[in-house]
Amino acid sequence: MGVLSLLLTLFVPLLGAIAVLFINKEQSKAIKSTAFVMSIVTFLLSLLLLPNFDSSNPTFQYVVNQLWIPSLDAGFRIGLDGMSLLLVLLTTFIMPIAIASSFSGIKKREKEYYAMLLILQFGMTGVFVALDTFLFYVFWELILIPMFFIIGVWGGKDKIYASIKFFLYTLVGSLLMLVAIIWIGLYAKDPAVYGKFTTDLVAIKGFIGSIPYDIQVWLFLAFAISFCIKVPLFPLHTWLPDAHVQAPTAGSVILAGVLLKMGTYGLIRFNLELFPLVSSHWATPIAWLSVIGIIYGALVAMVQTDVKKLVAYSSVSHLGFVVLGIFSMTVEGIQGAIIQMVNHGLSTPMLFLCVGVIYDRRHTREISEYGGIARVMPIYTVLFAIAMFASVGLPGLNGFVGEYLTLIGAFVSPVYNNTLFAILSATGVIFAAVYLLWMWQRVMFGTNDNPENQNLQDVTKQELWQMIPLVVFIVWIGVYPGTFLKFTEASTRALVGKIEAVNGISPRYNSLPTIQKASHQHKQSDHKSHNGADKHDNAHPSTDSKPHK
């Protein structure tokens, strides 16, 4: 049953897209309801993945393995582990909301629009379930097309610039990934390795360690650059603000909610799982970029005058926490990163929905156009506040759990071996409060002087019900994150165990680090990662650290 519901979860959106295309374009209502019903059905189908899912099993479940292109040994290989499951559920959960949020805003070419959204869903689900590098690449590139059109056709004033920028930026990265995928396939041809060209991820995992270290570094970088553009990691982030500002609300919701997670997902699935040793050696420079991203994104968000751009830059800051957690290579850090992916996929879409609400009414997103909105839109004010405080990382709401765990992970991380990363990143907590609160307060508080704002209508029933499900999960994860953490606990432990077996270092709990000692060790590890010579012997003083259970 699990396999069936996985296949249906993947393909029903595609069927939905085809169905929508067959409806007469005059029948706007039928188009909308078909798209919406299809997405709801997909969501319900994806819930069927839960009952039989064994969260204590760290390997892939519901695996389908069907050969597709024999000459490449490319297969239709799909399956789920805890992380994929959470992200698939996030996708199926966000899509109905994104579709519903388009009902009032999208007026032209509705048929094509909803078909694009459903194809997008097909691609995103595919990325999260693919267990074959070729299939993964196909889904990865498939997403570019609908997103390109969604921004380019239904976007704002500078939509063409933004859509092309989005397309080319990500394409550059994915071509590097393609080269890496082909190189690995060719490497497998060697009889001593695998005997034939392959794109089977499970098979690749088996022999990837035999690739010479220096080449592994290049492969690692090819994947990493591709994924980091998608995340986006500083300084590869400049496509994001443009794409967000120009995209229609649903586009931003999906972009922030799901699309960016493909990058962080890829970092765990490919970079960490395939190249654990290179990852531990390159963790420090990537962590620096994450930390810069966290602070830089926050400071730049602070000075924005356009609400949507502000939220876009806040994504740069928040995703920095995710990458920081991933490369901490600790259970806490990676678990925090995964839960933070989900969190960001809930609170940022909600922020975009909130921006969409006032944009629909006033057709401007300039902060200075607003003020005193709380008087005329009280419910809206509350909803915006919930999304904002979730994003700020207020304990009791979801954002805190993720940020806190990633910071803990970064703090104890044996590969960073430098508490400075966590300390600097924690200042992001202060800045998040500055830019979000300041914006919110300028929009909501004060007197409502602008005559155009005096008769603004509060959120409609429809808008309210788009956000209520988000609020439920924002509070749920904040109060009882165990429901979600438990899905990924086993696979994360297995991954970290593998990494520690390869690089031979484990977190330094109870090791009483002092600030000086930490910075001294940091210099050592920095030096090491540059020459990359010692791969298996590890010079880290870990005599007093207890083994990771």
Binding site: Y169, P395, Y404, L405, G409, L437, P481, T514, H548
Partner: protein, 649 residues
């Protein structure tokens, strides 16, 4: 009985959710007020029950941990939602729910007719819920939940009248003050976050009992680092130097909020946190010295600023900062019990004073400038009398509550600290007595300086005056819980009830500091007591002489000398911070965004794209569309291949 502790935060939570969802539909103010107040009242009753059952049980069975569920658990990190019921937390819970109930009832009268009556009670209940989590938590992370949660409630309540203006340095709206409070507190929270990380890496848990038990296993530098980082959080929440700037601006909120959050409860969180982790602090002499130093400096500086302020609430705000400084000074010399004792008495008399001020503001139609008051004694006799009691209590005149707690702090300052510390404390106490009586006389005595045509002062309704009277009684009698041995030795061997009650909590810390309960009588203690009382009386007489028959109109007095300006502008600290904020904004805006992002990164990206475009423009010329050209190219190609083959073979 202790296992019922979850009910205590549960009631306000229900009140918050209920009023938040349905409050708008309830038209009756009385009903909303009744719901809001009764939820906190119920919590108070449950707390009383737990307290009595604790009193009747043996000393070693008074501490219970009630575990509800696992909150965050992954890898080696595990934190529960669990409440610790013991002598310290129950004392704070009593103060929060007790004073909280009174202030809820008071608010029914004070907020009468407000547009968002339900919203006020909804927020107040949220605050109580979060505050209870803060003090009842058995681990630092749950305390942090409450810590940030009360910050949220404070933000919402300071900005409650979000469309009103408020005057301050770079503050125009009440919302600006709310934002300032939240952000300044976040800077402190940054310290608490880091302290938690250090505790997790070293002790491996955030459980308070473990933290206190294992504090001795930490290296000295680590203990000091953790303690100082925690104290950074305390300076934020409890408005000490250098993060105290938000509290005076927090007076933008409605007055009951100032009484509950910004005087009686939330601002004492810092004292609670140090008391909770007392053994950790006791292990670091450096941290203890810093706590005392910051505390006594804040007490003095805030006290001097209070001397010249004219806004009734601002005077009280600076007085709060100053009193909190006293408490920290006590904690820093190892006087944990006196510090907590002062939290309690201060909660009584400062809540009383704020509510009295609220009553005055209410009766004066939102006037807050004491220069425009005077002679209110005959218009509002109940407020006058209760306010007088509060003023005497805070000034430290026996046998009112403030005398006992302040005097115990001063005695600790002398005995465990130094005569200098004691001296500074006495000067700060002088300031307190002086500005409080200045405030009192300018408000209630002297010439009536308000405009009789527009302002008609009147006494407040019973919902407001009854809480005042109850608090007044507490302000008179509250000190009897902590009678020092030298004054009570003839009653019993242990006259200090509070000290006995709290001794198990601070036993390990006192052991670390090698403090032992003293049951001997020092002549010096009587002398010091007499001096400090004398100083307070002098201040009162001086203030009475200067301000009792004050008759000048507003803004015609006070020689505008340098010192006055310095105090009036609060030592220009806000202005200094403002420069820092401005410069961060300018750097972010002009350098980070407009240069790094737009010019450099996007410049590279766009010019790469343009370069491809230019290149394509050149290559494009090859594709002319003329068949002849293609034929020639083909011919050339074939010739080239033939030529290559010829040369090769």
């Amino acid at each position: 009985m202790a296992e019922l502790i979850y009910l205590v935060p549960l009631f306000p939570l229900i009140g918050f959710i209920f009023l938040g969802l349905f409050g708008k539909k309830i038209k009756s103010e009385a009903l909303i007020g009744a719901i809001g107040s009764s939820m906190v009242g119920l919590s108070f009753l449950v707390t009383c029950g737990i307290l009595f059952s604790m009193i009747s049980s043996p000393v070693d069975q008074r501490s219970t941990i009630v575990r509800l569920f696992s909150w965050i658990q992954t890898g080696n990190f595990s934190v529960d939602i669990a409440y610790q019921v013991d002598q310290l937390s129950i004392l704070f819970t009593m103060i929060i729910t007790g004073v909280g109930t009174l202030i809820h009832i008071y608010s029914i009268g004070y907020m009468h007719g407000d547009r968002s009556f339900y919203r006020f009670f909804c927020y107040l209940n949220l605050f109580i819920f979060m505050m209870l989590n803060l003090v009842l938590a058995n681990n630092l992370l749950l305390t942090f939940l409450g810590w940030e949660g009360v910050g949220l409630a404070s933000f919402l309540l300071i900005g409650f009248w979000y469309d009103r203006k408020f005057e301050g340095v770079s503050i125009i709206w009440t919302g600006d003050a709310a934002k300032k409070a939240f952000i300044v507190n976040r800077i402190g929270d940054f310290g608490v976050l880091l302290a938690m990380f250090l505790l997790f890496t070293t002790i491996g848990t955030l459980d308070y009992n473990q933290i206190n038990a294992q504090a001795s296993t930490l290296t000295p530098i680590m203990v000091t680092a953790i303690a100082l980082l925690l104290f950074l959080g305390c300076t934020g929440k409890s408005a000490q130097i250098p993060l105290g700037v938000w509290l005076p601006d927090a007076m933008a909120g409605p007055t009951p909020v100032s009484a509950l959050i910004h005087a009686a409860t939330m601002v004492t969180s810092g004292i609670f946190l140090i008391a909770r982790t007392s053994n950790l602090f006791a292990h670091s002499t450096t941290a203890m010295a810093v706590v005392t130093g910051i505390g006594i400096t804040t007490a003095l500086i805030a006290g001097t600023v209070g001397l010249v302020q004219n806004d009734i609430k601002k005077v009280l705000a600076y007085s709060t900062v100053s009193q909190l400084g006293f408490m920290f000074a006590a904690l820093g010399v190892g006087g944990f019990t006196p510090g907590v004792f002062h939290v309690m008495t201060h909660a009584f008399f400062k809540a009383l004073l704020f509510l009295g001020a609220g009553s005055v503001i209410h009766g004066m139609h939102e006037e807050q400038d004491i220069k425009k008051m005077g002679g209110l004694k005959k218009y509002m006799p109940k407020t006058y009398l209760t306010f007088l009691i509060g003023t005497i209590a805070i000034s430290g005149i026996p046998p009112f509550a403030g005398f006992f707690s302040k005097d115990e702090i001063l005695w600790y300052a002398w005995d465990k600290g130094s005569p200098v510390l004691w001296g500074v404390g006495v000067v700060a106490a002088f300031c307190t007595a002086f500005y409080m009586f200045r405030l009192f006389h300018l408000t209630f005595n002297g010439k009536e300086r308000f405009d009789h045509h527009h302002v008609h002062p009147h006494e407040s309704p019973a919902t407001m005056t009854i809480p005042l009277m109850i608090l007044a009684v507490a302000s008179v009698l509250g000190g009897l819980l902590g009678v020092p041995y030298v004054l009570g030795f003839f009653i019993s061997d242990h006259p200090n009830i509070l000290d006995n009650w709290l001794s198990p909590i601070f036993a390990s810390a006192n052991e670390t500091l090698q403090y032992h309960a003293h049951h001997e009588i020092h002549a010096i203690e009587y002398i010091l007591m007499a001096i400090s009382t004398g100083v307070a009386l002098t201040a009162i007489l001086l203030a009475t002489k200067l301000y009792k028959n004050y008759s000048k109109e507003a803004s015609s007095d006070e020689s505008r000398n340098f010192l006055w300006k310095l105090l009036w502008n609060k030592y220009y600290v806000d202005e200094l911070y403002q420069i820092k904020v401005r410069s961060t904004y300018v750097v972010s805006n002009s350098i980070l965004w407009k240069i790094v992002d737009v010019l450099i990164i996007d410049g590279i990206v766009n010019s790469a794209a343009r370069l491809v475009g230019i290149f394509a423009e050149i290559i494009r010329r090859v594709q002319t569309g003329f068949v002849q050209n293609y034929a020639i190219m083909m011919l050339l190609g074939i010739l080239a291949i033939i030529g290559w083959l010829v040369i090769r073979y």
